[in-house]
C-alpha cells in the first residue's frame, strides 16, 4: 500500500480516473454513432489517436515545473489572440463558423487553446502585486482581457464558445475576491441589458434601480457616474448587437422556447435528442441498438449530441453514471483549489472548473432540453481532437498544481 500512498501523494486518482472513464465512455459512444455512418466511420480511429496524443500532452504538462504556467501566461495569451485574428483571416469555415486553422493534414481550433491562455493570463493579472479587484480600473482591465478573445470569437461566429469565455471571466473575477459593489459593477450591465429586451419601460425601471443602488453604495461621484455610463453603454451596445443577430440565431432562441413548433428546422435537433434519450428507458436499448442513433436522426451526433447516444443506448443508468463521474471531477476540482499553494494556482483551477462546468451544463442541458441549442462539445466525451487535447492539458495543469500543493512546501 505504500506505493499507492505515494502515488496518491503525487497524482490525484480521483481526478484522473473519472476523466479516464469519461474518455472511454466517449470513445464507445463515438464508435456507436459513427460505425455505420458513410462519411464519419473513420472518426473512431481518429479519436483514439487524439486520445493518445492527449494522454501524452497530459503527462508532459503534469511533469512541467509549476512556474512555467505563470511565466508563459502572457505570451500564451498574446499568441492565442494572434491566432484568433489569423483564424478570422485565413480560417476554414465549418458549420457556419470560421473557427479552424489548418496546417497541412492537421487542423485545430485556436479558441480551444485560447481558453487555457485566458485562464492563465486572467489568473496571473488578478494575482499580480497590489491588485485591487474592487478598483473600477482593475475590474475594467480584467474584463478587457476577457472581452478581446470574446469579441474575436463572436466574429467567427461561435456563440457557444464566447459564452464559455464570459463565464470563465466572470468566475475568475468573482473568485478573485470581488466585493458586493464590484459584483454590482460587473453584473448590473447584464441585468440592464436583459431588461432592455423586455421593452423601454422595463429598461428605464432597471436604470432607475441602478441609480438607487449607486446611492446606497455611497461611492464617490466619479465612480458612480462611471458605473452608470458603463450600464448605459452596455445596454445600447447590446441593443445594437441584438438587432444584427443572425436570423438563425434568433430562430434558435425561438425554437428553444417551443421545439415542436418547427420539427424539421432548428428545433429538430433538440426534439430528436430528447426522443433518443427518453426512448432509452432505464437500461437503454443496448450498444449499437439505438435506432435514433443508428439511423442518424441527429446530424453530427458524435460531436455536440454525444450524450444522447449514451442516453439512448445505455439508458438512465448510463446517463447517471456520466453525471456522477462529472460530479466527482467538479467536486474534486473545487477541493484541490483549496489545496493550491498560491492565489494564481487557485484561480487557474477555478478557471478550469468554470470552463468544464459551463461546457458540461450547456451541453447536457441542451441534450435533455433544458437550455437552448448552443454548439458546445461535452468535455472528454465529444468527438474532436483539439477539445480532448486541451481538456487533458488542463487536467495536467490541475494535477501539476496538486503535485506542488502547499502540503509539500
Amino acid at each position: 500500500m505504500q506505493i499507492n500512498y505515494k502515488l496518491q501523494d503525487k497524482f490525484d486518482l480521483s481526478i484522473f480516473l473519472p476523466v479516464l472513464f469519461l474518455a472511454i465512455i466517449g470513445l464507445i459512444a463515438i464508435y456507436s454513432a459513427t460505425v455505420s455512418h458513410p462519411t464519419a466511420s473513420g472518426n473512431f480511429q481518429k479519436q483514439v489517436f487524439s486520445a493518445l496524443v492527449a494522454l501524452i500532452a497530459f503527462f508532459v504538462v503534469y511533469s512541467l515545473p509549476q512556474q512555467v504556467f505563470k511565466m508563459f501566461s502572457v505570451p500564451a495569451y498574446a499568441v492565442s489572440i494572434l491566432l484568433l485574428i489569423l483564424v478570422l483571416l485565413a480560417g476554414k469555415t465549418v458549420y457556419g463558423s470560421r473557427s479552424w486553422l489548418n496546417f497541412g493534414p492537421f487542423g485545430f481550433q485556436p479558441s480551444e487553446f485560447a481558453k487555457v491562455a485566458l485562464i492563465l493570463c486572467l489568473a496571473n493579472w488578478l494575482t499580480y502585486k497590489n491588485r485591487d479587484i474592487n478598483n473600477i480600473k482593475d475590474i475594467g482591465i480584467a474584463l478587457l482581457i476577457g472581452f478581446i478573445p470574446i469579441s474575436l470569437i463572436m466574429m467567427e461566429p461561435d456563440t457557444g464558445t464566447a459564452i464559455v469565455f464570459m463565464i470563465i471571466t466572470m468566475s475568475l473575477i468573482y473568485w478573485g475576491g470581488i466585493s458586493l459593489f464590484g459584483l454590482f459593477v460587473v453584473l448590473s450591465p447584464g441585468v440592464v441589458v436583459i431588461a432592455s429586451l423586455f421593452g423601454t419601460v422595463v429598461f428605464l425601471i432597471s436604470l432607475v434601480l441602478v441609480i438607487v443602488a449607486l446611492f446606497l453604495f455611497k461611492r464617490d461621484l466619479f465612480n458612480s457616474v462611471t458605473v452608470f455610463v458603463i450600464n448605459l453603454g452596455a445596454s445600447f451596445f447590446f441593443d445594437y448587437a441584438f438587432r444584427i443577430l443572425k436570423p438563425h440565431q434568433q430562430k434558435r432562441i425561438e425554437s428553444f422556447l417551443d421545439p415542436s413548433m418547427d420539427p424539421l428546422g432548428s428545433g429538430y435537433n433538440a426534439l430528436q435528442a430528447k426522443l433518443a434519450i427518453g426512448s432509452g428507458g432505464f437500461t437503454g436499448k443496448g450498444f449499437l441498438q439505438g435506432n435514433q442513433t443508428q439511423l442518424r436522426f441527429i446530424p453530427e451526433q458524435w460531436t455536440d449530441f454525444i450524450y444522447c447516444v449514451i442516453g439512448e443506448e445505455f439508458g438512465f443508468i448510463g446517463s447517471i453514471l456520466v453525471l456522477i463521474l462529472f460530479l466527482i471531477l467538479f467536486i474534486r476540482l473545487l477541493n484541490i483549489s483549496g489545496m493550491a499553494k498560491d492565489r494564481f494556482s487557485v484561480l487557474v483551477i477555478v478557471g478550469i472548473l468554470s470552463l468544464m462546468f459551463s461546457h458540461f451544463a450547456i451541453n447536457i442541458g441542451m441534450n435533455v432540453g433544458v437550455t437552448p441549442v448552443v454548439g458546445l462539445p461535452l468535455p472528454f466525451l465529444s468527438y474532436g481532437g483539439s477539445s480532448l487535447v486541451v481538456n487533458m492539458i488542463m487536467i495536467g495543469i490541475v494535477l501539476n498544481i496538486y503535485r506542488n500543493r502547499k502540503l509539500h512546501t
Binding site: L275, G278, G280, L295, I331, D342
Partner: protein
C-alpha cells in the same frame, strides 16, 4: 496565504451548491424522461424511424361466363419524383425524355405541394421501357427520381365493353376527404361501370413494407426483419355473365353505328352481351388520360362516353304492342277471337292515326305479326291509361333497372299523374293514349328495359334484375362465390303469354315483319319497331328471344337514325343469338382448367 481573501469558504460553498443543484436538475430531468415518460418517447422515436411503403394491389380481373379473360392486368412502369431530393434543373431534360409538354412536371409537383416533400409523386405512368432503360443507366445523375412497377388494366383481349366495364382513376381530393380511412392520395378508385360498382372487392388490399429510414428518409433496412410487413393482396376476380363470343359479334355489328344492344339470359337476368355504340377505348384510361383524348371524347357529337344501353331513352315503337296485347288478354278485355278491321288507319276525334298498310280483318296474333297500328290504337283505348301504365310498370318501365353499374335511367312512363301535371286535370290533348298504343308519344324506355321486357316474354314473366356479376373468386381461397339476385314473377297467366309469344314467333317465322332473320335451326321470336324521334331519322328497334321452345337468350337492339327495325336491328339480334346458341352453351370450363391453360407469367399474374 490568506484564504479569506480569495477562495473563501463561502464562495466555495456557493459554487459547490451551484454544481450540486445543476446536476440534481439534470438527474431529475433524466428520471422524468427515461423512466416516467419513456413509453411516450419510445412511440415517437419508433414512428420517427419506421416508414411504411405502400404497394398498390392489382385489381381483380374480369372473366366472361366461360372464364375467358375480358379485362386483365399488365405491369407498367411509373416514374416518380421525390421533391426533397429532386433537382429542378433536371426538369427540361426529363420532360424531353418522357415526351411531355414543357411545364408538365412543374405542374404535377405544384399540385401536390401541400404534402410532405419526402413522399414521391407519380409523374408519368405507363412509361416506355426505353425510358426505364435510360433511367437505369443514368440514375446516379438523377437524384429524387425513381420508378416503381405497378399494374394497370390490360384491355387487349379483343373486346371493347367500355360502358359496362367502365374505368378507374386517381381518387379526387373531394372523395378522398370522405373516404380518408380507406384511401390515400394517388390511389385508384373505380369511377364508372363495373369498376365502380364492385370497387370494394376489386381493389384488393395494399401491401405495406416497413422500412427503417434515416433522417434524410433514406432507406437503411427492414424494420423487424419484415415481420410486420404485409404483401399486397390482389382484388377478387369477377366472373361476369357476359359471353365473349356473343359480345364480339355484337360489337362487330355496331362498328360505325350508334345505338345499343343488351342480351339477357331470361331465367336469371344475367347479361350475355352489352353494347353501347360508339364505344371508347378503355386503354386510353388505363394510365394517365391525356387532355387531348378527353377533349376528343367530350367534343364528339356521337357522345361515345354516354352509356346508351342504360341511360339513353327511346320510344319503343311497335315493340310495345305486345304489352297492350298481353294486358288486354290478361284483363279479359279481348280474346283471340276479337277482331278489328284495318282500313289503313283510325279516325279519333278530328285526327286520323295512320297504319302502314291496309291489313283488313285482324285478330291479336295477326296484329302483332303484321304490326297493325289500327288494332292497337283501338285496343289501348279499351284498356285505358291506368291499366296500361300498371302493366308497363310491372314489366320494369318507368323505373330503374337496378343493373349493377351506376349508370341507370328510369326512362319515362306516362301516367295519369304525369299528364295531369303536364297539361292540367282533364285538359289532356285528345289522342295521347292512342299514340301510346303503338309505343310512341311520351313513353321513353332504355335498351336495358327493353331487354328485360323481352326476357319476361321469353320466360313467362319470371326473371331476375339484369346484372353482370355471376360471381367472384376469393383471392385467399381461390373459391368461386356465386351471386344470384332474387328471381321475381310478374304474375301474368301463361295462357296470355302463350298468345303473345306465338305472335312473336310468327313475326319471324310466319308472314311477319322480321321474316328476313329466320334461321333454319333456331326458332327466333321477336318484334320489330321503329322509334320516331324529333331529332332525325327513325331509330330501328328489335326485341326478341330464342329458342322459342326453350328460351336461352332475350335481346333488345336499337340502331339510331337508320330507319326500319326489320332491316337494321333484327339482323344484328339474329347474329348475336346465333353466336351464343350455336356454341353449345352447356360447356362450362372450370376455373382449375382455366388456370392450367395459362402461360407461366399469366398464371403468376393471376395468382397475385
Amino acid at each position: 496565504m490568506n484564504d479569506t481573501n480569495f477562495g473563501s469558504i463561502i464562495r466555495r460553498r456557493i459554487i459547490f451548491l451551484a454544481i450540486i443543484l445543476f446536476v440534481s436538475v439534470i438527474a431529475f430531468r433524466l428520471f422524468n424522461m427515461q423512466i416516467l415518460e419513456q413509453p411516450a418517447y419510445s412511440t415517437k422515436a419508433d414512428e420517427n424511424s419506421v416508414k411504411p411503403i405502400y404497394q398498390t394491389a392489382p385489381r381483380g380481373v374480369f372473366f366472361d361466363r366461360n372464364y375467358q379473360v375480358l379485362v386483365g392486368n399488365k405491369p407498367s412502369f411509373t416514374l416518380r419524383i421525390t421533391p426533397a431530393e429532386y433537382d429542378n434543373k433536371l426538369t427540361p431534360f426529363l420532360e424531353a425524355i418522357l415526351g411531355v409538354p414543357e411545364g408538365y412536371i412543374n405542374r404535377i409537383l405544384k399540385q401536390n405541394d401541400q404534402i410532405s416533400k419526402y413522399i414521391p409523386r407519380r409523374v408519368a405512368k405507363d412509361v416506355n421501357f426505353k425510358v426505364i432503360a435510360w433511367y437505369e443507366e443514368n440514375s446516379s445523375k438523377l437524384p429524387g427520381v425513381d420508378y416503381v412497377i405497378e399494374t394497370q388494366r390490360d384491355y387487349s383481349f379483343g373486346i371493347m365493353g367500355s360502358h359496362m366495364f367502365g374505368y378507374s382513376k386517381e381518387i379526387s381530393s373531394g372523395l378522398l376527404q370522405k373516404r380518408r380511412n380507406e384511401y390515400s392520395m394517388g390511389d385508384e378508385i373505380g369511377f364508372s361501370g363495373i369498376e365502380k360498382t364492385y370497387e370494394d372487392i376489386l381493389r384488393g388490399q395494399k401491401g405495406i413494407q416497413y422500412v427503417l429510414v434515416d433522417s434524410h428518409q433514406k432507406t437503411i433496412g427492414k424494420y423487424k426483419n419484415g415481420e410486420e410487413d404485409k404483401t399486397a393482396i390482389k382484388g377478387y376476380d369477377l366472373v361476369l355473365s357476359i359471353d365473349k363470343d356473343a359480345q364480339l359479334v355484337a360489337e362487330e355489328a355496331f362498328k360505325d353505328k350508334r345505338g345499343a344492344l343488351v342480351a339477357i339470359e331470361p331465367s336469371t337476368g344475367e347479361i350475355l352481351a352489352f353494347v353501347s355504340a360508339p364505344e371508347y377505348n378503355l386503354q386510353d384510361f388505363a394510365s394517365v388520360t391525356s387532355n387531348e383524348i378527353w377533349n376528343k371524347l367530350n367534343s364528339n357529337e356521337d357522345k361515345p362516353m354516354f352509356n346508351r344501353a342504360t341511360m339513353s331513352i327511346y320510344s319503343p315503337g311497335s315493340t310495345f304492342k305486345m304489352l297492350s296485347a298481353l294486358a288486354a288478354l290478361e284483363e279479359g278485355i279481348i280474346d283471340t277471337n276479337y277482331r278489328v278491321s284495318c282500313g289503313g288507319g283510325f279516325q279519333f276525334g278530328d285526327r286520323f292515326f295512320k297504319c302502314l298498310h291496309v291489313h283488313g280483318s285482324v285478330n291479336v296474333t295477326t296484329a302483332i305479326e303484321k304490326s297493325c297500328n289500327t288494332f292497337f290504337y283501338q285496343l289501348v283505348l279499351k284498356i285505358g291509361l291506368d291499366k296500361w301504365a300498371e302493366y308497363s310498370y310491372r314489366f320494369g318501365f318507368g323505373k330503374k333497372s337496378n343493373i349493377d353499374i351506376p349508370e341507370d335511367s328510369p326512362g319515362i312512363l306516362p301516367t295519369r299523374k304525369y299528364y295531369d301535371k303536364a297539361f292540367g286535370v282533364d285538359r289532356w290533348p285528345k289522342g295521347i293514349l292512342v299514340s301510346l298504343g303503338i309505343g310512341q308519344g311520351e313513353l321513353s324506355v332504355t335498351p336495358i328495359q327493353l331487354a328485360q321486357y323481352a326476357a319476361l316474354f321469353a320466360n313467362f314473366g319470371k326473371s331476375a334484375k339484369p346484372h353482370f356479376l355471376k360471381g367472384y373468386i376469393e383471392t385467399s381461397t381461390g373459391k368461386f362465390v356465386e351471386v344470384n339476385p332474387k328471381t321475381f314473377d310478374i304474375n301474368i297467366s301463361s295462357k296470355s303469354f302463350d298468345v303473345v309469344r306465338y305472335a312473336m314467333f310468327k313475326v319471324v317465322n310466319g308472314a311477319g315483319t322480321a321474316g328476313n332473320i329466320r334461321l333454319p335451326d333456331i326458332n327466333i321470336a321477336g318484334k320489330t319497331g321503329t322509334s320516331q324521334n324529333p331529332h332525325g331519322d327513325d331509330h330501328a328497334v328489335f326485341i326478341g328471344f330464342a329458342p322459342y321452345e326453350n328460351p336461352k337468350i332475350a335481346i333488345a337492339v336499337i340502331v339510331e337514325n337508320v330507319g326500319f327495325g326489320s332491316v337494321h336491328a333484327a339482323p344484328i339480334a339474329r347474329d348475336v343469338i346465333k353466336a351464343y346458341l350455336q356454341k353449345n352453351n352447356a360447356q362450362q370450363i372450370k376455373k382449375s382448367e382455366y388456370l392450367g391453360s395459362l402461360k407461366g407469367e399469366e398464371r403468376e399474374d393471376f395468382a397475385n
